[in-house]
Symmetry: C2
Subunit: 191 residues, 2 copies
């Protein structure tokens, strides 16, 4: 019995050890837990949410890039559109301007006609101002060197006093809208 | 010593028990594990990745909505810009047109002046056509009912044969560019 007691005591002691062992287990458990955490961390690399998150972020990045591109393109288009917005109306007005100039080119005989022409010249200058205000300029011709980007050679002549490719005369006015040629000048060029 | 052996045996037994206990621990551990899984499942609702994913998806949705709005607004702006693109030039041309009309209103005495005026009338009609082509229309006045959206009453008269608010005469032409009034007509209205 005392042995039994001893055994019990031992058992208790064992239990004590067991408790210690249990504590050890707890430590082991801790280790297992931290192992779990490690496993979890490793698992996160291919966690389904991780994949979804990557996809969502990729989509976000692509959408942002598309948006930025669109914004940039839109800005450029709008600037070009604003810059040349008057072009169609100007092009429609040019034939009227040509006729206006032809009408103004007459030599008036009577005072009445002279007065009329003066009034018309004023109107013409007003229209010219409105166009200049919109960025329209007349392409220089006489005396200039022929430039196929600005001029159209409708006649080749051999004229004394002019250099090769120098413009001798203008046959029809050419116009630029800002940096864009909207009608080439028709010119007579020295060959 | 045999006691010690016995003790050892008992110890082994204890160990056995301990093993069982360990098994129990394992079971407990399993329980803890399944508890962990449960916790994980519960935790997934507020899993950091879940939060990040939701944020990313929210950002994506917002960016897409912004992009769509920008695209729609840009389209509307571009359409308006295209629709009224000639407005500034037209507005600049209107004073010249007024003067043009005044110059054409004279009664020519000589044939020379008559011819000159005919040429100028042709030029005027060409300009008018170019403007009409761009969507410019003259606001109707005489005989129309006064409309503050279209007309500006600069004179109130009491004229026989006219109804209340009916326009008696036009003092300056008004113009519309498509559906937009770019200059009100100046009119004399019957009160």
């Amino acid at each position: 019995m005392p042995e039994q007691n001893k055994n019990e005591a031992e058992e208790k002691q064992e239990h004590g050890t067991e408790e210690v062992v249990e504590d050890n287990h707890s430590e082991e458990h801790m280790d297992e837990q931290s192992e779990n955490v490690q496993e979890e961390q490793e698992a996160e690399v291919v966690h389904p949410l991780e994949v979804e998150l990557k996809e969502a972020n990729d989509r976000l990045a692509r959408t942002k890039a598309d948006y930025d591109n669109f914004r940039r393109r839109t800005k450029e288009e709008r600037e070009a559109q604003l810059k040349y917005k008057s072009q169609t109306l100007i092009e429609k007005l040019l034939p009227a301007l040509d006729n206006f100039e032809r009408a103004l080119a007459v030599e008036p005989q009577s005072d009445e006609a002279k007065q009329l022409l003066q009034g018309m010249e004023m109107v013409y200058r007003q229209i010219e101002d409105a166009l200049q205000n919109e960025g329209v300029t007349v392409i220089p011709t006489e005396g200039e060197t022929f430039d196929p980007h600005l001029h159209q050679a409708v006649m080749q002549v051999e004229e004394e006093g002019y250099e090769r490719n120098q413009i001798v005369a203008e046959l029809q006015k050419g116009y630029q809208l800002k940096d864009r040629v909207i009608r080439h000048s028709m010119v007579k060029v020295n060959s």
